[in-house]
Structures are given as structure tokens and as C-alpha cells.
Subunit: 147 residues, 2 copies
């Protein structure tokens, strides 16, 4: 039997969130958190609407998933996010001890890899899933902003 719950499957859901951000004029980044193939959090960047630099997609999903689980540690969970997390989000993910992070496009300027942010030693990372789709959405957003 084919397993429908691939990383691509869940990243498509995160991309839908990124598109929702795009439609609101927010930098288009979306995230979801999954446990046992069940989506327990969905969010997209809301820094403009909320006037709040902490309102990145990942931060909202971390809070929502912990609320769902009734505990602050996200052991057994996977975060899917369309763009590589920043220092802040990677730092929050460190504290959460999340089991897996899957991201799409890399952020060569402000991504956690270049910035040297440490994740929890137990956290596995997969990247490049639907990266072109995520990057295209970002490019389209900034092209429209420049108009």
C-alpha cells in the first residue's frame, strides 16, 4: 500500500498557508506541525497584521501545537515550513525539542544555518522539499512589492 503521508504531502499544506500569507500582503511563509500523520497546528506569517516581529509562522505553530498537546515539548512532532527558519524560530525549536524539521527553500541571508543557530541534538532536519514552489512564491511577493 502506498503511504500518502509523505513530506511532499504535508509541505503542500504548509504551502497553502504561505499562499494565505501572500494574499494578506505578508511575507509568504507557512508552517504546519504534524504528529502521527495528524496536523495539529497550521499558521502563516502575520508580522505585518500583528505588528509583531515574533509572529513568524513557526512561532505560532509551536505555540498552537503545545497548546493542543497540553505540554511544551514537541517530541514526536514534525514541523513543515516553506522557508528555512531564522535564528528566533530555530531557537524556539531548540527549546521545544521537536523531533523533525522539514523545510522548503533555503534562506541564505538570515536562515539559521548561515547564522549558526543550534537546534536540539535530537532534532532531525530535511530540506529542499517543494523548495522551488516556496522560493517562487517569495520571488513573486517581492516582485509585486517593488512595483
Amino acid at each position: 500500500m502506498i503511504n500518502p503521508f509523505t513530506d511532499e504531502y504535508f509541505m503542500k499544506k504548509a504551502l497553502q498557508e504561505a499562499e494565505a500569507a501572500f494574499d494578506k500582503g505578508e511575507i509568504p511563509v507557512g508552517a504546519i506541525i504534524v504528529i502521527d500523520n495528524k496536523i495539529i497546528a497550521r499558521s502563516h506569517n502575520l508580522t505585518e497584521l500583528l505588528n509583531d516581529v515574533t509572529a513568524h509562522a513557526e512561532m505560532q505553530s509551536i505555540t498552537a501545537a503545545a497548546n493542543f498537546l497540553g505540554g511544551k515539548y514537541l517530541i514526536g512532532c514534525t514541523l513543515y515550513v516553506t522557508l528555512e527558519p531564522c535564528q528566533m524560530c530555530a531557537g524556539a525549536l531548540y527549546w521545544s525539542q521537536i523531533s523533525k524539521i522539514v523545510y522548503g527553500a533555503t534562506d541564505d541571508n538570515r536562515g539559521y544555518v548561515k547564522m549558526g543557530t543550534q537546534l536540539h541534538p535530537k532534532t532531525k532536519v530535511v530540506n529542499g522539499i517543494l523548495a522551488d514552489e516556496a522560493a517562487d512564491l517569495m520571488k513573486r511577493f517581492f516582485a509585486e512589492k517593488r512595483k
Copy 2:
């Protein structure tokens, strides 16, 4: 005329917040944000009560100050926090472009300095203000936890 608004003056307010965290059984870290000698945000660590790793004192104050100001950038603001910020909080402060950070005790294990987190180039940092008081509160907290 003597200026009453010293770094010690404001750090005492942050310490009061840390004591409030202590009384709730939270790791005792407190923070305030000041602009033009006016306190516009006060907060203390609430990670246990809220079941949320993102509920550090600094994160709450960043959100509250931006809400007060009606804009997400904290230019002209100073954060007073009793303990050296972690990666997550330093990453949030980076995005906020806050003008000044004053912290008390250092965190040699998980502080942003050791972790190599980058602050915004325009952010000035002062440390060691009422550091002994902040560190004593932390030691007292963990000593009671071990009982």
C-alpha cells in the same frame, strides 16, 4: 540634578518581574522595555503556566512594546532583562532592531553570546547590571526545585 533613571533603576523593575515568576514556580527571569524613561512593557517567564517554550519574558515584552507603539520596530527602546537572552530571544531582538539591551546575569550554558546568535548591528549591549541579585534568584529557585 541627579538622574534617577539609571540602568540600575530599571533593572530593579525587571527584578521585581523575576520575583513574580519565582513566586509562580517559573524560572525567575523578568524583563521590561523602556522608551524615553517610560516603561511600556513588563513581563516575566511563563513557560510553565502557558505550556509554551516561546513564553520567555523577553518575547512577551517585545510583543507588548510593539503593541503599545503601534509598530513592530523597537527603535529608541531599551530592554532590561535579568538574565542574558537565549538564541530565540536574541533572534527576536535582532528582528526588532531594538536600540539597547541591558542584561543582568550571564547564561554561560544557553546565552546568546556563547551560542553565537547575532543581534542587529545597531543594538548596543550592557551587561552585569544587578547581576548578583539576578543570579542569586536563579540559584535559590533551582535549590528549592532540588529539595
